[in-house]
Amino acid sequence: MRKTLISLGVLMREKRFVYMDHAATTSIKPDVAESMIPFLKEYFGNPSSLYSIGREGKEAIETAREQLAKALGAKPDEIYFTSGGTESDNWAIKGTAFSRQKKGKHIITTSIEHHAVLYPCEYLEGQGFDVTYLPVDRYGLVDPAEVEAALKEDTILISVMYANNEIGTIEPIQEIGKVAKEHDVLFHTDAMQVIGAVQLDMKQKHKDVDMLSLSSHKFYGPKGIGALFLKEGTQIDNFMHGGGQERGKRAGTENVAGIVGMGKAIELATANIEEHNEIIIKMRDRLLSGVLEIPNCRLNGHPEKRLPGNLNFSFEFVEGESLLLMLDQMGICSSTGSACSSGSLETSHVLRAIGLPPEIAQGSLRLTLGDANSKEDIDYVLDVLPETVGKLRNMSPFYNPGSVCEK
């Protein structure tokens, strides 16, 4: 690798490539990519075919189904492959809604869900459904008691994400599941962010979860492939109608290579969750305390109940997109909830939901750690970030160094 010297003002330093956006997507592990290649180059038969050459594909799909089932503590029959997290969410929500509209039209979800949950809900509102978007506290926590209080006679679905992708807050899924079960309402959770970070067990710990969505590219698998866990006996409408694939529940010729890759990826991601988390948390804690030394900076999300790899900061007097782009120039990949970054007029709905005033939400920076990171990455970010924030603050009309209270 060529070494590049880069300057962001006075100091010259060696540029380093630091990927800290693992919540957005992850790289494919080499073993995962290798597992896929035979299904691109060699085994091309249609898994639905009767003759022998479709069989490698069919068998590979069933192996992947077992790998997913094992990782979730579920039965292979409860796993359905989809084209990604978005499809899984759409299916769970619309499939439940349309299948139960005679029974009721009320859905409970939260104001901090991913758009893959929020927009299907909004769409359903247009179709005559009634959706309650529960508020969260300032840490992003949903209160199970509020879920219970929101229940109506005609509630058919509760959908609460397992952990938030922006601020990392982990929700009380078991408690909410209990509420759902007690009132005989289906419970769906968007678990995109937790595979490989939280040990799942659909038979025991998560026995009250009826549907769970996951997406391969969040755990070092390929993009465009995901799954829906649909608990045995749970009947919802199909979303993708057509051929008899996936035991008649999800039509469409299977993305065999993608399914194989996801199977391998989940096996690797869940092989040693605790040890993996320990490493990530160690890096995260050092990064956290280092960043908090920058004045007028705060951590968003829950201080403890959060994903191991997630840090979400707000820097006063700084706009997030600028910060992100300057960090990118220094080789650091990050994310922000600022309005400008999304092309919309509003800052992230999650940051608004936890009550951040717009100017604080504007200065948000998400750093999500993962397999790509090392101690050296943390050092580099801690070296570059304060200077970058400083440079932008010096450009800001709101910033008055005198007014900044040193911590």
Binding site: E319, E321, M395, P397
Partner: protein, 127 residues
């Protein structure tokens, strides 16, 4: 997303700072949250020096930088006529949806010119 020229003006913005005892000071913001403050040093109806401070995205900062470059040395009349499109063009284009972010420069310049006129006892100009 942004072209090289924009990135250059963003990473190395020209004319950042404040002018003490400026002859005209103007501020402007937009609904995205971008905010610019501009300082003019004026002699003989001409902008002798200009500085700015901007809170905002890369488009806002680069536009501020480019706008100040474009009005430096110009007469107040010329500066008043500067459009967002001219700034965007000088930057060789802004991504769709980002033109909005460059609007603050024009507004801040107008406000600064009017501030100067007020100080001079002149009536302010209308948009």
């Amino acid at each position: 997303m942004y072209n090289k020229k924009v990135m250059d003006h963003f990473m190395n913005p020209r004319n950042v700072g404040e002018i003490e005892n400026a002859d005209g000071i103007g501020e402007a913001g937009n609904p995205h949250g971008d905010y610019m403050k501009i300082f003019l040093k004026i002699r003989d109806d001409r902008i002798e020096d200009v500085k700015f401070k901007t809170f905002g995205c890369a488009a806002a900062i680069a536009s501020s930088s480019m706008a100040t470059e474009l009005i430096k040395g110009k007469t107040l009349n010329e500066a008043w006529e500067l459009t967002n499109e001219a700034v965007a063009e000088a930057l060789e284009g802004l991504p769709p949806g980002k033109l909005e972010c460059s609007v603050v420069s024009r507004e801040a310049i107008h406000n600064a010119i009017n501030d100067h006129r007020k100080k001079q006892g002149l009536e302010t100009l209308e948009e």
